[in-house]
Amino acid sequence: MSIFVDENTRVIVQGATGHQGRFHMGAMQEFGTKVVAGVTPGKGGESVYGIPVYNTVEESMEREPNASVIFVPAPNAKDAVMEALDAGIKTVVVITDHIPVHDAMKFVNHAIHKKVKLIGPNCPGIASPEKSKMGIIPNMVLSKGNVGVISRSGTLTYEIVNSLTERNLGQSTCIGLGGDPIIGTTFVDALEAFERDIETKAIVLVGEIGGTAEEEAAAHIRKNVTKPAYVYIAGRSAPPRKKMGHAGAIISGGKGTAELKRDAFRAAGAKVAVFPQDIAEMIKNDMAI
């Protein structure tokens, strides 16, 4: 098992003919993802790596996709997400960064209404090693195993997953939730799924300053999660009221500090790492016992 994506995931790529879309369509196929179609308005009839490109999601439905990964640039991203939701796609991963927050609020709420699993926006996507990958997590850092990874960031996740892989700690699924203030899938959603997933034996959470999603995750762990959880929170040294790169990474009104989040996780029985690479070491040590 794994969560959200597996060997039955049939993926379309929206924004398939752009620089990013094209590159990652190739990388996803190399990873083993069943990429069944690309969608770019006006480019119907072309193909990318032998995969047919359609003008609309509706037309691509003849390839029987159930998931879409979106690389469409920010100004048109909302339209692309709405198109996927309305066509009946059940899992949508939005990679695009810099999407206006009002657009995100609209498509996230539409996804909730349609009971669609929406991941992102501004996220690296999701990967279940040896099964499927939707998004841009580099293939080389991933390996199959029993650690579930949930993160709000991109490159930092690659670092941590890479250090897991280097210590022979493979992953069941790695999921990047996204660095924006409004996101579809939350820590709690992913925690629930990992708790149910028999393949997952340990859970890694990578959070950062801003908002209270980590505090909610901690409360959820305390009540509902039996598997060991390991946590790293970025931004401990960040000053208040400064946006630290991610639109969502901002401490305001004394809320959203790294210290509050770390305390919440410690109180919930999770182990909190000071340096990102320590997580792999901590899991290794616990497994030796």
């Binding site: 609020m105 080389m140 690659y158 890479n162 908002g211 969502g248």
Partner: protein, 367 residues
């Protein structure tokens, strides 16, 4: 992007939300031609909280006093900001003060309207209202309305407030939606002369939406000149109070690098290169950090799609061409890292371990 009070009030006015009679001035000579009744309220147009307490607001009962206040407001820093404009208004005869805001609720992922029957300059209360809508007080003091962004405010949601308040809420929400705001706040919403008046304004427009709003002048006074320069090069730079210039890729990794530095007693500046195969961007990053007077540059990259050797060429070139004279600590991992190490041999202090590299950068910065 935060708007100035006067800009916010112009928007309020165009949506039919009453604001006090006012004029915006830049020069003392303009005072004489102001045709408003005394007493006046004179407010420095600066983007900082706690403006009143910091001395950014004055009251004038005549023209001589107004001139004196003009110099007081324009001549000095208020919470680190210098006013370029002053908003002069007729002083309201306020009977009651309310609080109203529309903002984005991150947890519920929708807009939230907050209306409180108590408003005013008590920052503590304002903050706790804005942040979680919870405040000790009598039941019914605070009205919270969660709005489905796909359909907007519904009539039934307005039944908890008086008609005149409902009217202001609808107009405020329309601004929030039309201008794609992160925050529209009226504090206080004053009851004066038998009607509700927006005595102050606070509007934050979502930066990602600015491309759709040519009507909003993009000044962004919140950013420092170097932060603005970085943004033009597609670099995310936060000019912090430190002397180690951190260059990393990805916001999370950049924050984690600053944290590691801090663990060893170092203080850094945040520079997220983000995904790039463009050596020019690396060059801009070094230039910005030099201008920001970094004593050490700490490059911490995890290459995947961005290849380590491409970045390494960029670093070598900028060191050679620009004559970078400060120490450069580099930890570069990922795709083609061996090649990158060769390219940078003798040019940088290369360290493979995250912790060791952070420690070295902190020590060099401490000297």
């Amino acid at each position: 992007m935060k708007l100035h009070e006067y800009q916010g009030k112009e928007i309020f006015s165009s949506y039919g939300i009453p604001v006090p009679e006012g004029r915006v001035i830049e020069k003392k000579e303009e005072l004489a031609s102001i045709d408003l009744k005394f007493p006046w309220v004179m407010k420095a147009q600066i983007l900082t909280g706690g403006r009143g307490r910091a001395g950014g607001i004055g009251f004038a009962s005549g023209i001589d006093e107004a001139e004196k206040i003009f110099y007081e407001l324009m001549g000095r820093k208020i919470n680190g900001c210098i006013a370029k404009k002053i908003l002069v208004e007729e002083k309201l005869d306020i009977e009651r003060e309310f609080y109203l805001s529309v903002t984005v609720d991150r947890d519920r992922r929708c807009p939230i309207v907050l209306f409180s029957r108590h408003g005013g300059i008590d920052i503590g209360i304002t903050k706790s209202i804005r942040n979680d809508g919870k405040r000790e007080g009598k039941k019914g003091d605070i009205v919270k309305i969660y709005v489905n962004p796909l359909v907007g405010i519904q009539d039934y949601q307005m039944e908890r407030v008086d008609k005149d308040v409902a009217d202001i809420i609808r107009k405020t929400y329309a601004i929030f939606e039309d201008k794609e705001c992160e925050l529209v706040e009226i504090n206080p919403l004053a009851y004066a002369g038998g009607r509700l008046v927006a005595a102050d304004s606070k509007i934050v427009i979502n930066d990602n939406a600015l491309f759709r709003h040519p009507e909003i002048p993009e000044e962004n006074e919140e950013l420092t000149p170097l932060e603005r320069e970085a943004r033009r090069s597609g670099i995310s730079f936060v000019q912090l109070d430190g002397n180690v210039g951190v260059i990393a890729n990805g916001a999370g990794l950049t924050m984690a690098t600053l944290d590691a530095l801090d663990e060893y007693g170092g203080k850094g500046m945040f520079l997220d290169l983000s995904g790039t195969d463009d050596p020019e961007k690396v060059k801009s990053a070094f230039r910005i950090l030099k201008k920001a007077r970094a004593d050490v540059i700490f490059v911490n990259l995890f290459g995947s799609i961005t290849k380590c050797d491409t970045v390494a060429y960029g670093i070598r070139n900028v060191i050679d061409e620009e004559g970078i004279d400060c120490p450069v600590v580099a930890r570069i991992r990922g795709t083609n890292e061996e090649n990158a190490a060769k390219i940078l041999e003798g040019k940088v202090i290369a360290i493979r371990s995250f912790k060791e590299a952070a420690k070295m950068a902190a020590e060099l910065g401490g000297r």
